[in-house]
Symmetry: C2
Subunit: 206 residues, 2 copies
DNA sequence: GGATGTGAATGTCTTCACAGCT
DNA sequence: AGCTGTGAAGACATTCACATCC
């Protein structure tokens, strides 16, 4: 399949949320315009995004909500569950591990790690915080699909290196460092400082 | 000033982090190539990003770290402090209110609100959680520069409306809804589902 | 009639490549 | 010689507009 822009994937993920709402309300069909209005974009954009993956609508009719929902879920790879590990049981790790929105989309946090003996052994919603020493023994056989890195800055690269060795192919990185990983490993960075600074930039320049 | 792409602003914010590290290490000058390598981009991109705002380097020499750091901080609007309020004292709100990285960049969380009487009155690192009823009486005279919306989905729009009325011009929205606000109000959305789903998309399509 | 799907046109961002300073 | 600053070229993304089909 042809290369798809990340912006397209992000919009599909956004549309999916609306589609799930429509489905929950029992709405049978939607037009590209309705999805667009909800998502703050244009009907042409919605149609183009979808058309990159196939023809899901009926001319004159719009899209069947259940069919399109299933199609988008499938495009996004949500047709199967993902095992997630969180490394770093600080503020961020704690919030993520407890966040129920993850599981409802098929992302199951099965492991939480920390280095601090004061945190190891604590139980969060039935999930025990384990010593980061156990990474290899726990995960060597079945590496998680996705690892959330929520360690302090200094520990992130070392943890990532160990997990890459174990075969982890996708990281969601909250540590404010650029992780160095092999070509075939994906890293998605989330950085609150950047989000706030785009706001401060905008506040200043208007 | 000409319109600057958000991607440029995000990169500048990233460069700033590296510049601050270089400055802390006492490094006097950097080239665009050094910043680029650190940030996973190209030297031409770094020079172009900076040139949109002025000429900060010396040909043949590179950029003075202290001068460039100051310039980028200024571009991003970080020359002054920002008062931040957090609405919603759940997992996300709690993590953000306690996150020390905010204050070090000049973003000072001065207010935390929740609706739940069980949370109101709790003290987090010296910051008392207040009842969301008090929004107007607390903030009418001096609305915060930025409000972090970390409420449940259903409460977000109502809270945003009240804050817009109070004069708030910038929101960082963690609630998974598209907030409707006037033209001159900025909303930056942060949505973990989207981040995870760009990863699941990538895991599926390779 | 009404909404999709899609080439073509437009707009935006990134990369190239080199003149111009130090 | 080395590195910046920047027009020009190229790549990429969005919007337009309309033929096509239900």
């Amino acid at each position: 399949m042809r290369k798809i822009a990340e912006s397209t994937v992000r919009r599909l993920s956004l549309y999916l949320r609306f589609l799930e709402e429509f489905e929950a309300k029992g709405i049978a069909t939607v037009s590209s315009g309705e999805v667009a209005r909800r998502g703050g974009t244009t009907s042409a954009q919605v149609r183009k995004d979808l058309s990159l993956f196939g023809s899901f609508g009926k001319r004159g009719m719009g899209y069947s909500v259940p069919e399109l929902t299933r199609a988008v879920r499938d495009i996004l790879g949500l047709g199967r569950p993902y095992v997630v590990a969180v490394v770093g049981a600080g503020n961020v790790g704690s919030a993520l591990a407890r966040y129920s929105g993850f599981a409802s989309r098929g992302f199951h946090v099965r492991w939480v790690y920390d280095q601090d003996p004061g945190k190891v052994g604590l139980s969060w919603d039935g999930l025990r915080v384990r010593d980061v020493e156990n990474l290899e023994s726990d995960l060597a056989d079945h590496p998680p699909d996705i690892v959330v890195v929520a360690t302090p800055e200094g520990a992130a690269q070392g943890v990532a290196d160990r997990l890459v060795t174990l075969g982890v192919k996708a990281f969601l990185n909250f540590a404010p460092v650029q992780l160095a990983v092999p070509e075939d490993v994906m890293v998605k960075n989330v950085n609150m400082a950047i989000e706030l600074e785009t706001l401060s930039y905008a506040l200043r320049h208007r």
